[in-house]
């Protein structure tokens, strides 16, 4: 007995989205690049490529390697810097038929706070995502997002600069992501992005050298999906703020894994490189799925893979 059309709307802090699909930072440009292939009014939001205080040339080439069911990238945050971005780029995004989320990166607390404040002040920007997977020059290049104390500091630093929704994107390259998630929540994050890429490397066995100019890179795509689903599941148990699940989502089934694990919205990155129609296809199929199960909204599936654990699996045990 299907009644009304199920709603795909979702809310991430104050950010209201008509569709629960964000396009991953760094994978989707400003949306314009994909506009000829997909109806942007049918996606929730584009997360812009991360921007930094100063312009960056980016990493030496090669910057991409394809790996089994995934890819490594090491772009190195090539971007024109916040001033040029605000002065000459951002106004072009004003008429996108979907929401625009800014992404902020940096190499010091000051960097982050400055860039976030400048960016968040702009009307084109509906929310801010904090990409804290950068090395902190003040502490021997330790990655902000890999240390609970640095995470808390950087979240507090940017939190003070804007009232807009702040999504803190977590790195999976940590011993216990729940610890970091709790720090980010306590420091004022409105939502968490789970996960950023997994660190990896590939070697050219003919030339005897790394395949990436930067030596190491970030692994994305279906290969990391099981890692990402677990991260969302563990973070969902640890915090009360919403989660944007991401890492290898290509199909409706993949998307459902993330919702059931505890995500309130999903982000799609690498799959756009397979077929730009994937985000809209997932949204359409998601609506059908909800209708078939007579569910009114995606809220009804978020975190539901928890139900019945205790009864379904009575033994203890562990991996290995």
């Amino acid at each position: 007995m299907v009644t009304a059309q199920p709603s795909l709307a979702t809310k991430i802090g104050k950010l209201e989205l008509a569709f629960p699909t964000l396009m991953g930072s760094g994978c989707y440009g400003s949306g314009e690049e994909f506009a000829p292939y997909v109806d942007l009014s049918k996606i929730g939001a584009v997360v812009l490529k991360s921007v930094t205080r100063l312009p960056r040339l980016g990493n030496p080439t090669p910057r991409l390697v394809h790996t089994p069911a995934g890819m490594l990238n090491a772009i190195g945050l090539q971007n024109p810097g916040i001033e040029w971005y605000l002065a000459r780029e951002l106004h072009k995004y004003a008429d996108r038929p979907c929401k625009i989320v800014g992404s902020v990166a940096g190499f010091s607390l000051d960097d982050y706070a400055y860039t976030c404040e400048r960016l968040a002040a702009r009307d084109e920007i509906a929310a801010i995502e904090l990409n804290a997977s950068c090395p902190n020059v003040a502490s021997e290049g330790e990655t902000f997002a890999c240390d609970p104390v640095l995470t808390a500091k950087v979240v507090r630093a940017v939190r003070g600069t804007t009232d807009k929704t702040l999504i803190v994107k977590l790195s999976p390259n940590v011993t216990d992501i729940a610890v970091i998630a709790r720090e980010a929540e306590a420091a004022g994050a409105d939502a968490l992005g789970v996960i950023n890429t997994v660190r990896g490397m590939a070697i050219d066995v003919e030339a005897w050298r790394p395949r990436l100019g930067n030596v190491t890179g970030g692994l994305s795509g279906p290969a990391i999906r099981p890692i990402a689903v677990l991260a969302v599941y563990e973070v969902a148990q640890a915090v009360r703020i919403p989660i944007v699940g991401q890492g290898g989502i290509e199909t409706l089934t993949d998307a459902l894994e993330f919702f059931l694990a505890g995500a309130t919205a999903i982000s799609i990155g690498t799959a756009n490189f397979t077929d730009p129609r994937i985000p809209v296809r997932i949204a359409t199929e998601l609506r059908d799925y909800l209708a078939r199960r007579n569910l009114a909204s995606i809220g009804e599936i978020v975190g539901k893979a928890n139900v019945g654990f205790a009864t379904a699996y009575q033994y203890g045990g562990d991996e290995g």
């Binding site: 760094g26 910057r63 756009n272 490189f273 077929d275």
Partner: protein
Amino acid sequence: MVDGAARVHATIVSERHELTAGVVVVRLYAPELARATRPGQFLMAIPPSSEAAATALGIYEAEGKHASILFFITGKRTRELAELRPGDALDVFGPLGNGFDLSTDARDVAIVAGGVGIASVLLVAQALVRAEARVRLYYGARTAALLVDAQRFASAGCELVCATDDGSLGHSGFITEALARAERPELILACGPSPMLRAVARVADELGVRAQLSLEETFACGVGACWGCVVPLVANSAQAPSFPPAELGGSDVVYARVCKEGPVFWADELRW
């Protein structure tokens, strides 16, 4: 040079030929794509099984209602494309990138193609012949069998110079050796493996002729969104991306996207 015509095309395979073992041409019913394509552009083929990234392929032919792709079976994606048969569906998006720049109005053009590079130069050869330029094709491959469709260029009106690594046909050695010894053209256009393109750049420099090189890099998006496919370019090149601006970075080199600012670049503007 804008790709305003780019879109997703649901094409149907109308013909499929294996030119020689491992080299396949697939002809697609794709009227809008054929119409919109300019010489030197490429498309992204969406994998029928959706299990890998889309594949960048030069648009080999484009006439009437058909466009075709020509590829070497080198890995899992081209292996899958090679299984296409007439009647099968193939979704592609494009045309993408900037083609060759023919605004120089050169009347004597040398086209250099190595291996699969041949896939990106038929349209430009045809356009030049149509514009009544003299067109010489310098075509190199490992062995004679891999000099696929050479006859096609001859009948299109090109003069043909071939080279094979094993000497089985034409000059024995690199095609750029033949180019270096030939009568100086007004313009060189080249597509092929990177070592060949570097050699073309050297020869062009020696001959004092400008050359346009169609580059190949590992792609992700193919549409300029990910900044993954870049090559270093002199900052003041007309093809330098407006974003990010070199003046702010204080660098005389910028990274330009092969998929967006390219795939064709002026050899003397590359800093690779």
